[in-house]
């Protein structure tokens, strides 16, 4: 109590880390952060602005950053378009939505069950396996694109729906964060449930999962970004146009946009880029407080 009183009237808590309110000493940080944030926001504002620009504004000279007469024409154009191989754009979008939903659900299930074993079960290889996963945090998938391709080819996964899902399922960062967060669930809760005769599955499903919601939200975001933004799988492992993703389709728009098709392609590409970006942003805004509480368990010891 005494400490609270001291803080409130001395203003100490408004200086330094995690202040409760405004203090003059914060001004310098605002002065540095505001211009930087504005600068970092520019490319993102640009996606929004160009997606709604009519053609004459897209190619106006001198170019203007912000849209003046916003229109939805780019979006209607986008969805009335077919790819060069005759697949409607809505098909790519549909693929992306289904793939992302399945990938997110599967990642949560697979990582959280593994995290449960590594955090709460007792077995011989526990420490070793967690150490292996920690080493794998520095795994750079792009470095082994070629052997991965060979593995996927051998397994007969080329041109299948599952090749969009399976390679991303083992997400070392995801398991790591879940396990660290789960360590903070007290063992007494689990022991009490065991005495009541609950099975492992019941403990995992009824007790652990509800208690680690913030960590699950974080894994959901990571899995979402990985699956939704993924154009590489479609480029490398998929031949059938009807199995490719929206991110891939957007990629084909920009490669043609640099060439002959620049005039027609740019507005559509901007609209598609906005569709790619928005879900990421919305989900993060909703889940950001959960992400932050997970991150405080993220330390690597």
């Amino acid at each position: 109590m005494k400490r609270n009183w001291f803080h409130r009237f001395s203003g100490v808590r408004n200086r330094g880390i995690n202040p409760q309110g405004f203090h003059v000493s914060q001004l310098k940080f605002y002065l540095l952060l505001l211009p930087l944030a504005a600068f970092m926001l520019l490319p993102i504002l640009f996606i929004f602005s160009s997606a709604f620009k009519p053609p004459d504004e897209l190619f106006a000279y001198p170019p203007r950053f912000f849209v003046v007469n916003p229109t939805l024409k780019n979006f209607t154009d986008l969805f009335s378009k077919m790819s060069s191989s005759g697949v409607p754009v809505s098909r790519y979008l549909f693929n992306s939505i289904v793939i992302t939903l399945v990938a997110v659900a599967a990642s949560i299930l697979v990582s959280s069950t593994a995290a449960y074993a590594l955090s709460k079960k007792r077995f011989k290889l526990k420490q070793t396996l967690f150490a292996v996963n920690t080493v794998a945090l520095m795994f750079v998938p792009i470095a082994v694109t070629i052997p991965r391709f060979l593995v996927i080819q051998r397994l007969g996964l080329l041109d299948t729906f599952s090749v969009h899902i399976l390679p991303g399922l083992a997400m070392p960062v995801g398991l790591f964060l879940l396990k660290q967060f789960m360590d903070s669930v007290p063992n007494e809760v689990i022991e009490a449930a065991q005495i009541d005769g609950a099975s492992d599955l019941q403990i995992y499903w009824r007790i652990i999962l509800p208690m680690i919601r913030p960590a699950i939200a974080t894994i959901a975001i990571l899995a979402f970004q990985a699956a939704w933004n993924n154009a590489e799988t479609s480029t490398l492992y998929i031949n059938a146009e009807s199995l490719k993703t929206f991110a891939f389709y957007l990629g084909t728009l920009t490669t043609t946009a640099s060439g002959a098709n620049a005039v027609a392609g740019q507005g559509i590409a901007a609209a598609a880029a906005l569709i790619m970006f928005l879900p990421n942003l919305i989900i993060f805004i909703f889940l950001q407080s959960q992400v932050m509480s997970t991150m405080s368990h993220s330390g690597l010891k």
Binding site: G16, I17, Q20, Q26, F29, Y30, A37, M40, L41, P43, I44, F46, A60, Y61, P62, T113, A114, Y116, A117, L118, K121, R122, F123, L129, M138, F139, V140, P141, I142, A143, V144, T145, I146, P147, V151, L166, P167, L169, A170, P172, D200, Y204, L222, N229, A247, L250, L253, T254, A257, Q266, A273, M276, L281, F284, M295, S296, S298, G299, L300, K301
Partner: protein, 303 residues
């Protein structure tokens, strides 16, 4: 040979743990362990995907060091330049930004964190649209028009096609999108530090904020600093495709933006020299390992 009874006992005791782990472990093995091992094994072979791999010992590595002019002249220096600026630079920037954000009250802090984090949510393909318009080579490009208005340049500059600017743009763009999960972890780490530590230090006569950062903040959040460092290293090497995305061609104009990842793709998917590409992959993995080891040295917790 264990008896049936002891097997049964083991199953009762540890079986369910392995059950819970099984799917993850299987996926981990197939898509992470096997490709890494395969890269390692293939790097000692000649493999053109048509014939079976043929063992040639260390020849790929010898070629890489002694005969691959592109690698020694462009790819390696480019990769080092890119990695040194984007890695430690981006990491220091992420820490400083997180530290500044931690000095603000919750609502402005959350807003700023959202703005700084949002570039890392964008995907390469989506941003290619933006960069190609902003850095477009004719006078309708935003950067060109802006600089011409100010009178800094007279003629439009081919930003993404000219060797002298491509690397700079790659670095700026990658730094822009590098405030990711490591940045959030460091922000959370700074906020978790017990405020009494600062009060005690103030009573002991510590007066400058820099002293505070180096003697209290960083030592108290070493685990998060290490996590952030690993994420920064992985992010830096994973971002290697950016030069090809920006310039639209592999190899990049006069190899100006050629990074090790592009070199792997060049040999693997364009020339089908899989063995050689695998050797380059192994070099890349070793680089990641080396830098992670280095940051381990710096931030390992004394426990």
């Amino acid at each position: 040979m264990p008896s049936r009874a002891s097997l049964q006992k083991w199953l009762n005791k540890e079986g369910s743990a392995y059950g819970f782990l099984s799917v993850y472990a299987l996926m981990f093995f197939i898509f992470i362990v096997v490709p890494v091992l395969a890269a390692f094994l293939l790097s000692f072979t000649f493999f053109d995907t048509i014939q079976l791999p043929r063992f040639i010992g260390l020849r790929n590595y010898i070629t890489l060091i002694t005969q691959d002019d592109t690698f020694m002249k462009y790819v390696l220096p480019n990769t080092i330049q890119f990695a040194v600026i984007v890695g430690p630079g981006g990491y220091a920037l992420a820490f400083l930004l997180a530290w500044m954000l931690a000095q603000l009250p919750k609502i402005p802090r959350t807003l700023f964190a959202l703005i700084l984090y949002s570039p890392s949510m964008t995907s390469g393909v989506a941003m290619a649209v933006v960069w190609k318009t902003l850095f477009s080579g004719d006078q309708t490009g935003y950067l060109n028009s802006f600089l011409m208005n100010l009178g800094i340049v007279q003629e439009p500059v081919q930003w993404l096609q000219s060797p002298e600017y491509l690397m700079t743009i790659m670095i700026v763009v990658t730094l822009w999108s590098s405030m990711g999960i490591g940045f959030l972890a460091m922000l959370a780490g700074i906020l978790e530090i017990n405020p009494e530590l600062y009060e005690a230090a103030a009573l002991d006569g510590m007066s400058s904020r820099w002293q505070e950062i180096f003697y209290i903040t960083i030592p108290s959040m070493k685990p998060q600093m290490l996590f952030g460092a690993v994420m920064a290293i992985v992010g830096t090497f994973q971002a290697g495709a950016i030069g090809v995305t920006l310039s639209g061609s592999n190899p990049t104009p006069q190899y100006a933006g050629q990074l090790i990842v592009n070199h792997i793709e060049d040999y693997g998917f364009l020339r089908y020299e899989m063995g050689y590409a695998a050797a380059v992959s192994v070099v890349l993995l070793l680089m990641v390992l080396f830098f992670t080891r280095l940051s381990n040295r710096l931030f390992v917790s004394e426990e």
